[in-house]
């Protein structure tokens, strides 16, 4: 008697994942809680654990298989003795591509047969339309008999939402002839970044405002706190202050803590800050929930923990979903001003540049001060210049008067 191990949904919206690595092989005995495989989603890799004890009788999906639908059976766990291992049917895109290339192109159609994901059911007409319009069929749900994709499932390009079409419709050029190169397949995370940020640039009317902020006061408070010899594990970073200042500024200008929603918009009562964290191969944005209601040291501890998890690829999907605004700091790389791309569906992202010594004129006298350039990118559908300016002004004020951040 076999128990089916299925591809789990690691987040509420997950529809498919990649089987990055098997941690067991056919014949292995497993207990409840044993890690069986590493599953890759668009943001992170997670382990799948056994929920039953037994023997792995069959691995049904090969390592490296991508786009395995949630709910698909990936292995069989038997309660009996181990079965002789059978070769796992390969479920990667390679066979489909080979089959498509081997089939001679139909005489009445041009020479570009679609590279279809294996097992995709589609009518001849829908396939032809998809070829002509370069539609990414992986994102199309079939409404025909048995899930077959029919013409009606391929909406005309003018009304298809940019998100599903963005990457597929961008012209793909071959590399320049003769240049030695390596071709790397896009990871799930990379595909997601490409899709979402293309969507942001194509659909969100960005505008940008910048302020220069004097950091001296904040740096002093931070040094005082960290150097006090207080026996705490948490050291405050400049970024922690900036996150709290961001939350405080939004509490003062709540009209900048909003989200466009078609014929209406949402104004949030709470500030959840998505922090951009660079990770190997890309970037993720774990969320600090209720940054306005948390103390500075709580934010610091959370930011540290999330950053570590993110860099290790161990972020739980819930950790990077949501967020009402974003902050992205490239100051540590010496960048003077960072003009970020909005993270849809949010309406605001703050780009932080390096704090550096600059000459300033104060009351007519030239002094040297630590100055940082901050650029806010705003969704003009739902935030206007005056609101954005007021928000940035509030942010600047808080950063320059750090006791108001911690008060």
């Amino acid at each position: 008697m076999s128990i089916e191990l299925t591809m789990p949904a690691l987040s509420p919206t997950m529809e498919k994942g990649g089987l990055a690595r098997w941690l067991v092989k056919e014949g292995d005995a497993v207990d409840v809680g044993d890690a069986l495989a590493e599953v890759e989603t668009d943001k992170a890799t997670m382990e799948v654990e056994a929920t039953e004890a037994g023997v792995i009788t069959r691995l049904l999906v090969a390592e490296g298989a991508e786009d395995v639908p949630v709910g698909a059976v990936i292995a069989l766990i038997g309660s009996g003795p181990a079965q002789p291992p059978t070769p796992a049917p390969v479920r990667t895109e390679a066979p489909a591509a080979a089959a498509a290339a081997a089939r001679p192109p139909p005489k009445t159609q041009p020479q570009a047969p679609l590279d279809l994901p294996q097992g995709l059911k589609i009518t001849p007409l829908a396939r032809r339309i998809a070829e002509l319009e370069r539609i990414d069929l992986a994102t199309v749900k079939g409404s025909g008999w048995g899930g077959k994709i029919v013409k009606a499932d391929l909406k005309p390009p003018e009304i298809r939402p940019a998100a599903t079409n963005a990457v597929a419709s961008a012209a793909i050029y071959p590399p320049p002839a003769g240049v030695p190169h390596e071709t790397i397949k896009l990871s799930g995370m990379r595909k997601t970044i490409a899709r979402r940020l293309t969507e942001a640039k194509q659909t969100v009317p960005h505008f940008y405002l910048s302020v220069d902020v004097r950091l001296d006061a904040l740096l002093k408070v931070r040094a005082d706190f960290n150097g006090q010899g207080q026996a705490q594990a948490v050291k405050l970073s400049v970024n922690d202050f900036l996150i709290k200042a961001l939350a405080g500024a939004l509490q003062r200008t709540p009209d900048a803590n909003v989200q466009f929603a078609g014929d209406r918009y949402h104004r949030f009562d709470r500030v959840d800050v998505s922090m951009a964290v660079a990770v190997p191969g890309g970037l993720v944005t774990p969320v600090i929930v209720d940054a306005g209601g948390k103390r500075l040291i709580e934010i610091a501890a959370e930011a540290r923990r999330l950053g570590e998890q993110a860099r290790a690829g161990k972020l739980a999907p819930e950790a990077y979903q949501g967020g009402t605004v974003s902050i992205s700091n490239l100051g540590m790389f010496g960048v003077k001003a960072m003009i970020p791309v909005i993270n849809p569906p949010q309406a605001l992202i703050l780009g932080i540049g390096a704090g550096e010594e600059r000459a300033c004129s104060v009351n007519g006298a030239l002094i040297s001060a630590m100055v940082m350039t901050v650029v806010g990118s705003f969704d003009h559908r739902v935030i206007d210049g005056a609101v954005a300016a007021a928000f940035l002004g509030a942010f600047k004020h808080l950063v320059e008067h750090p006791f108001e951040i911690v008060a």
């Binding site: 005489k107 009445t108 159609q109 009518t123 001849p124 007409l125 013409k151």
Partner: protein, 465 residues
């Protein structure tokens, strides 16, 4: 005393009885209310008996041309009563068949006039008595009736509707057929083959106005070659029935109206939905353009009330009603993923001689939709079987989207095209393109090869023309 059901169907035509059977198959307790005969107009006073009559006409045509086939037939004649009786017998057989299907599927049949009496309640009245039925869902399938001329009543003596035209007691010597849709053209064809002098008039600028222009043009020539008189742009201004003849005042275009006399007239100017006296007002069921307003699955504006078939709007075709009946029954029974009827892929057939069959867009409609087209046309004169049958007249016209190869429309005139059109309907249902059709092997020698050749013609590579 209230009998209670899961579904009550008003009307037992091809929409109603099919819906009832499907619902019963899905486990519902079903009742059907019918005020005339099971099978409705289609089985008893429409599709079926007219096809029986047209078969007689077709055979009569062959017998009167027997020498073409090397046969001798003398003293050819017919007994009108027996011609009619045969069609009544065929109708009777099918009517009995529907009775049997109702019994087999344990569907309760109530004879009488049904009407909505309130939410989930239907009142069935007959001969002064009434019984109330309770139903969780109610399906209105009351069909339609012939539209009447405002100035002339079809009393069945000399002025006929389709019903009278199906049971003639005498053969008209000269017949005026008013209206050139499928019904008018079929009767014109029948009576002409049986010896009447037929004049077919149409107010619009061509006969069979719903068909492709090439079909209209071909049929006009074909009917005229048979001896019919076809008048288009012709408005009937008055129709008066006397004891010996019917006097019709016809205005042709800008000319002054002229009176003409005929022995009989058939009025076939369209139909109107049977929305009266069935209690729609009690629940406020919404109407549109004279029929019941429904969504793609048959739901009306009132929860628990459904409508299908002729009463729910065009196309007024039995197979559309049946399919809508199945969809509605499945939706009522809670089947998941019910596919609504694709009205764009319902074939229209006219069983005249020659026959007409079409599905999808006309050329004009396809051009209006801005599509770049590839059009194929193949004459049956290039088809071996058609020639061997002695029925070489007609053509198969196919319209493809030049970019995608989608079969946008098919229009056919000729022998048995009503049986052939299903090939294109299936193709469109499965979203085949011209390429797949071109690669399909059609058996030889058949009329169906013309379907293939038309597809090849659209691709500029017809073999036999």
């Amino acid at each position: 005393m209230t009998d209670s059901f899961d579904l009550i169907v008003l009307g037992s035509g091809p929409g109603g009885y099919v819906a009832a059977i499907r619902a019963a198959q899905l486990g519902l307790k079903v009742a059907v209310v019918e005020r005339e005969q099971l099978g409705g107009v289609c089985l008893n006073w429409g599709c079926i008996p007219t096809k029986a009559l047209l078969r007689t006409a077709e055979i009569h045509h062959y017998i009167t041309h027997a020498s073409d086939y090397g046969l001798a037939a003398e003293q050819v004649g017919f007994d009108l009563g027996r011609v009619v009786a045969r069609s009544r017998q065929v109708a009777g057989q099918l009517n009995a068949g529907v009775k049997g299907l109702m019994r087999k599927n344990r569907i309760a049949v109530f004879e009488g006039d049904g009407a909505l009496a309130g939410r989930g309640r239907v009142l069935v009245s007959r001969l002064g008595e009434a019984v109330e039925l309770a139903g969780k869902d109610i399906l209105i399938a009351t069909g339609a009736r012939a539209r009447e001329l405002p100035f002339a009543k079809a009393d069945g003596a000399r002025v006929w509707t389709y019903r009278h035209a199906m049971v003639p007691r005498e053969m008209p010597s000269s017949l005026l057929v008013v209206g050139s849709g499928a019904i008018g053209v079929e009767f014109a064809s029948f009576y002409s083959d049986m010896g009447a002098k037929v004049t077919l008039i149409e107010a619009l600028d061509r006969i069979l106005p719903a068909e492709d222009v090439e079909v209209s043009a071909f049929m006009t020539k074909a009917l005229e070659k048979r001896g019919l008189r076809v008048l288009t742009g012709a408005r009937l201004e008055a129709l008066e029935a006397g004891p010996e003849a019917v006097s019709a005042v016809i205005r042709l275009g800008d000319e002054p109206p002229r009176a003409q006399a005929f022995s009989h007239a058939i009025v076939a100017i369209g139909i109107r939905a049977n929305i009266e006296a069935i209690g729609l007002e009690t629940l406020g069921v919404a109407l549109k353009d004279g029929h019941v307003l429904t969504d793609a699955c048959g739901r009306t504006s009132v929860d628990g009330v459904w409508a299908i078939g002729d009463v729910a709007g065009p196309p007024w075709l039995a197979h559309k009603a049946s399919h809508e009946g199945v969809v509605a029954a499945e939706a009522i029974a809670g089947v998941q993923g019910v596919h609504p009827v694709d009205k764009a892929n319902i074939a229209a057939c006219t069983y005249s001689r020659p026959q007409v069959a079409s599905v999808g867009l006309t050329e004009a409609a396809a051009r209006l939709a801005g599509r770049e087209l590839k059009i194929g046309k193949f004459p049956f004169a290039g088809n071996g079987k058609a020639i061997a049958l002695g029925a070489p007249e007609g053509f198969v016209k196919t319209i493809f989207d030049a970019m995608t190869g989608e079969l946008l429309g098919a229009h056919m005139v000729g022998a048995e095209v009503t049986e052939l059109i299903q090939g294109y309907v299936i193709s469109r249902q499965l979203e085949a393109t011209g390429a797949e059709l071109a690669d399909t092997v059609f058996p030889h020698p058949t009329l169906s090869e013309a379907l293939h050749e038309s597809v090849l013609s659209a691709a500029g590579r017809a073999l036999h023309v």
